[in-house]
Point group: C2
Chain length 327, copies 2
């Protein structure tokens, strides 16, 4: 059994807890929090909730610690800190800071002779893997990534900061005609506006100026002004009823050519359609918990990404079973 710990019990931590119930070779041994542990109720019977400060004394109890904090301030600190004590997996997704994060985590994991896997999830994660495979296969070609249909937390938050807005949810939606053009091998050059539209469901405060809110949203730089944006005003009840989920997904495509004269076109497409963004991210992370554990057992220590991990390490089955059933 792989003994797993979770640090941070938000949406992602809850997703890890659920994913462990689908992996019979893993058991949850503890949920760790920086809040008062008595204030956190988890759903797995018999598993303790402990303060994060207790972690350094748990090295005999836990094989792999999953770090479920945010990329802005939590993970840059936590992943290097805990990679000295445990095999760890995180979902660090601040792209520009990955080299720096990798270097720190690598040093810590090597010091502790542990295996650390960073930036796991679907983007970065499965989308990255698909970009890599497709680029390796078709060295001459063009990459496209579309996101959605899905909820963007950042854009929803930006709307909620507008005066007169009580609540809001924003969906990023890929433009179907752009997708089709890529699929048809037309290798289009697409502007921001041509790739995605944005749809906003906004609950206004009583008496708020709806025209002003709509205009502020549509003209917000970076977030909305480069997109075709639709704004719907709805009630809090409608928001709760129709928009309480956290769906997401997207498409990674590579269009390329082969042949002595590049006369044959090919399209590689990877698509995700997810009812729950955090639960799917957690499902990916949980598969990499197994990989971190195994690589650790084999002494492959230091920092790894999805690019470095043999796919078979993600699976419970033996090499023999995998070749028989999935090859």
């Amino acid at each position: 059994m792989i003994r797993v710990g979770i640090l941070g019990y938000g949406n992602l931590g809850r997703g890890i807890e659920a994913a462990i119930t689908q992996n019979p070779d893993m058991e949850l041994r503890g949920v760790f929090t920086r809040r008062d542990p008595a204030s956190v109720t988890i759903r797995t019977a018999g598993v303790p909730v402990l303060h994060a400060d207790r972690l350094p004394e748990m090295t005999e109890e836990i094989d792999v610690l999953v770090l479920c904090g945010g990329s802005a301030t939590d993970l840059p600190q936590q992943t290097p800190d805990y990679a000295k004590y445990f095999h760890v997996v995180d979902s660090f997704d601040t792209h520009a800071r990955i080299p720096e994060h990798f270097a720190k985590v690598d040093a810590a994991a090597k010091e502790g002779k542990k295996t650390a896997v960073i930036s796991v999830g679907w983007d970065p994660g499965m989308f990255s893997l698909n970009r890599l495979y497709a680029n390796a296969i078709l060295p001459e070609g063009k990459d496209y990534t579309f996101w959605g249909k899905g909820v963007s937390q950042g854009h929803s938050d930006a709307i909620r900061r507008i005066e007169g807005v009580k609540n809001a949810k924003q969906y990023t939606i890929p433009v179907e005609s752009a997708l089709e053009s890529v699929r048809n091998g037309e290798n289009p050059t697409l502007t921001t506006r041509q790739k995605h539209t944005r749809e906003c469901f906004v609950v206004p405060q009583e008496g708020a100026d709806l025209a002003r809110i709509e205009s502020e949203i549509k003209n917000m730089p970076n977030y909305f002004s480069d997109y075709d944006t639709t704004v719907h005003f709805i009630t809090e009840e409608e928001l709760e009823r129709d928009h309480s989920g956290i769906p997401h997904g997207g498409f990674v495509l590579r269009s390329g050519a082969t042949g002595m004269n590049r006369e044959h076109k090919h399209l590689i497409e990877y698509r995700l359609k997810l009812d729950s963004n955090p639960e799917f991210t957690a499902a990916v992370i949980t598969a990499y918990v197994r990989a971190a554990y195994r690589m650790g057992q084999e002494g492959m220590t230091g920092c790894k990404t999805v690019f470095d991990i043999p796919p078979a390490y993600l699976c419970r089955q033996s090499g023999e079973e995998l070749r028989k059933n999935l090859l």
Copy 2:
């Protein structure tokens, strides 16, 4: 530079030759054939065509040998034979015999301290990888594979064996409504007939009984009787003009659920749309030539499949570049 040899100069061997021109860290050092080398003209200037018998004396000239023979009789012999002398990659695709092939190649490669990668291409190959990743992420779910639209060589050959048929080409086509049902998370149980249709373009001999030919095709056991089949009679010129390509492709999907009560559905879809089946297969193999070479350099000898190979080994770029550009 990775020095590559090709054994067998059919469609696949020609595809490898073309793919090498897209990979600047590789050079073609020889094409080997069991035919009279003087009868084989290749398209790369300055590269010798030699008899296959010369291979054992070429161990200092070639790093990786790509075996481009058939799975029925060539590869079961050739891959173990040559894995003693070179790092090798093959596209062995007789599913039921993979365990046996793996064992023989593994023994030979270990004896020669070489790295052998078997069953590379898109199915087995990229489709297998996608099945594995999707199963690891969503342990509870259902797999679907659809092939096409594409030319089935086996089915085309079967039609050509019918009396009165001069030439023929058969396309396997996925049923769009079945695909949509899977994408909608309906988890359908699909019969053979519900998954694919078959479309045949047949050039009859002069005066042949068309009704009999059509009936023989549609009622042919295993090949056609379980499918909805359409038969078009056309001229040799039309066949040449409209059906001379070797397109193929398909879809690998996994539909699964997460959450404490499996309340959230997810769909993972991987799609290939290929103008040239052999050239795309060759492009995949060529990426794995690099992996075989690198693993060989690092002493990771024996038989491997796509499941065993860290994705980064397929790429020319360093780990640092990959993390920066593709993660």
